[in-house]
């Protein structure tokens, strides 16, 4: 038996098919979820993929956050279901306040697409257990609203509680405070990050690395061994 991972499609989502592919490559069953349906089809975990949902108009993630599917996702995330937000998905998670802080326009004001080095700071979340703390990985980054900000108090708290999951290495590509690339909630089931692990799962395409596969094998082990 394998686990079912829902992948949400909002209008303007781009990386839903890629994410489904990554889920499949890791040995999980991808389940497409539609923004208008509250029903999560009994999935065991949910990924909010990247893209420009609603064109990123108003603010990235601001409009999607109010979709019917998110009502259920928010409720179940609070109940402990693993949720991963990648890029636009991360932006949606901050807009829903499942994760603290907010994402703003990159400090250099440009869209940036690059192979980004990261350090895994926390290997105890539902989505990072297959990594080791301190491990360095490279995955593609591509966004224009990727600058993570939160007030000092929140940042201190995130660090004190070990909730910074990924930090940018070598270059901070967007001016994110304290080089934060990804964070988790207190329970460790909800993780959001700007870079794209789903684009680093096959040696043939993208950057040719498979450093992102660990996200999906982590969740596989958690769900199947649970």
């Amino acid at each position: 038996m394998t686990a079912r991972v829902g992948v949400v499609t909002f209008p303007g989502t781009l990386d839903d098919r890629d994410t489904q592919r990554a889920v499949r490559i890791a040995g999980l069953e991808p389940v497409p979820l539609w923004h208008r349906d509250k029903d999560l089809k009994q999935v065991d975990a949910v990924v909010l993929p990247g893209g420009f949902s609603y064109g990123d108009y108003l603010r990235a993630g601001a409009i999607s956050r109010f979709s019917p599917v998110m009502e259920t996702v928010i409720e179940q995330a609070k109940g402990g279901m693993p949720v991963l937000g990648i890029c636009n998905g991360f932006q949606v998670l901050t807009e829903t306040h499942l994760l603290p802080g907010a994402m703003l326009r990159n400090n250099h004001l440009h869209f940036i697409c690059r192979d980004q080095k990261l350090r895994v700071e926390n290997a105890d979340t539902a989505w990072t257990a297959d990594y080791e703390a301190g491990q360095e990985i490279s995955v593609p980054l591509k966004n224009i609203d990727g600058r993570y900000v939160a007030d000092e108090h929140t940042l201190d708290e995130l660090e004190a509680e070990g909730r910074v999951v990924f930090r940018y290495l070598d270059v901070n590509p967007n001016g994110s405070l304290r080089d934060i690339a990804g964070i988790t909630n207190a329970a460790g089931n909800v993780v959001g990050l700007m870079p794209h692990p789903e684009h680093a799962v096959e040696p043939l395409v993208g950057t040719g690395r498979t450093d992102g596969l660990g996200f999906f094998t982590s969740i596989l082990k958690k769900l199947v061994n649970a």
Binding site: L58, F66, T94, A102, L104, R105, N107, L109, V149, D151
Partner: protein, 81 residues
């Protein structure tokens, strides 16, 4: 129909690279004497029906929950005259 304007600006303590980029460009274009620039958003809402206190309260709520992200932004609501 009445127009209500919602202005949304980044909180003062949040870095505003867009405003900064504008400010940095000004001297090059020959405009001196601007000490600071902040860039925000302006929403013009065309409201059906009377813009009474109840309507403004609703718009205030809309701004707070939707038009602005109060983690990073402040907003003001006013009737355009």
């Amino acid at each position: 129909m009445a127009r209500v304007v919602v202005d949304v600006m980044l909180k003062p303590e949040i870095l505003d690279p867009q405003g900064q980029a504008v400010q940095r460009a000004l001297p090059r274009l020959g405009f001196e004497g601007i000490a600071d620039v902040r860039q925000g958003k302006r929403f013009e809402l065309e409201v059906e029906g009377p813009v009474d206190e109840a309507a403004l309260a609703r718009i205030h709520e809309m701004a707070e929950t939707f038009l602005a992200n109060t983690v990073i932004e402040d907003f003001t609501v006013r009737v355009d005259s």
